[in-house]
Symmetry: C2
Subunit: 191 residues, 2 copies
DNA sequence: GTCTATAGTCCGATAGAC
DNA sequence: GTCTATCGGACTATAGAC
């Protein structure tokens, strides 16, 4: 376990978030981020493949944990419910509500970061669909459940962040699902 | 719209698609694209704000046309249906089925292009939600219908492209909507 | 049309932990 | 000595500025 000067990665993430808030993403250079973190630009790119990725380090870990939860879900007869419940039940406040809101605001303010956010969501959708299939859900149903479930949760997440984390994700999810049910034509569903 | 005179913009688009197929997106430089099109790199950036955008020139026009269709739809009491029908009824084969498939393949092969594709979809979702709201649909319902409708259509579009354009988009959409209905919990909607 | 800043890559060097 | 994290500098390409 290397002990000396540990924490470059976290210092880089902190410095990046601060600078993006101060000057905006486009007007912040990697050199400035590295300077504030006390490392060189070379070190920055050792940790993050590109400038955008510095804000999405946790996304991959979250995806893995969420997928595992889906694989561990006892009952998958309602795939869409599995997706929304898994997402709503997840503990998003790892680094704290404050950091979550700041990150959310910074991403929304920059088209470049929004692009990256969208592809992360897509990665998650693909991983979810795969997990559902491994649990025996038919391919088309798995794909659609994963995609739609994430869209439903996005509206929930936005409301939840806006409420400063005080709103109940499960209740918000129920409301969103009811809204969705009202939008889907009254075709008789078998399941 | 001078079809008889090949403008620099179209030559650039053709050259870019060819080169992306030959070498891949990352290994193709803007200089190479401009060379093949017989113009300078400066000219490339006069037409396209960045390297990725060369494949998405039509996206903005499509969005505007689709939004107009939504605004012109007589009945918007079933917002989700409005979205899926509008998308399924659109004529996507403007430049020909072959170009559509080639473009689809090139985008799928490059993470950078996939990112751009995703944000274009998001732009469309936002524009659709706005159009629905202007037609009197409540905000939350409009947003959800737009987002979910696009996800439904994505599955339809993928199947349609794979079928070489022979499958019927309307029939595929009906099948996808039935599948969606089977996924949504049997909460009875009022309408 | 030229000039320049920044993103991102590559190779090699250095220094501490084991 | 090995292993790993950091550093330095040169380099190409994108993108914007003049």
């Amino acid at each position: 376990m290397p002990r000396w000067e540990q924490g470059s990665e976290e210092r880089l993430r902190t410095a990046a978030l601060e600078l993006f808030e101060e000057r905006g993403f486009d007007d912040t250079s990697v050199v400035e981020i590295a300077d504030r973190a006390g490392v060189t630009t070379r070190t920055f790119f050792r940790y993050f493949p590109d400038k955008r990725e510095v804000l999405f380090a946790e996304s991959d870990r979250h995806r893995a944990a969420l997928v595992q939860q889906i694989l561990d879900t006892p009952d998958v007869t309602q795939p869409l419910r599995v997706i929304t419940s898994t997402l709503a039940g997840f503990d998003w406040t790892g680094p704290g509500m404050d950091l979550l809101r700041r990150r959310h605001a910074v991403i929304a303010a920059s088209p470049g970061l929004l692009e990256r956010d969208l592809i992360k969501r897509d990665d998650i959708a693909v991983a979810f669909a795969d997990a559902l299939q491994r649990r025996g859900v038919e391919a088309d149903a798995a794909r659609l459940a994963a995609r739609v479930g994430i869209q439903v949760f996005l509206t929930v997440y936005a409301q939840w962040v806006e409420s400063d984390g005080h709103a109940d994700p499960a209740a918000l999810t129920d409301a969103a699902m009811t809204l969705l049910a009202s939008l889907v034509p009254a075709t008789r569903a078998t399941g």
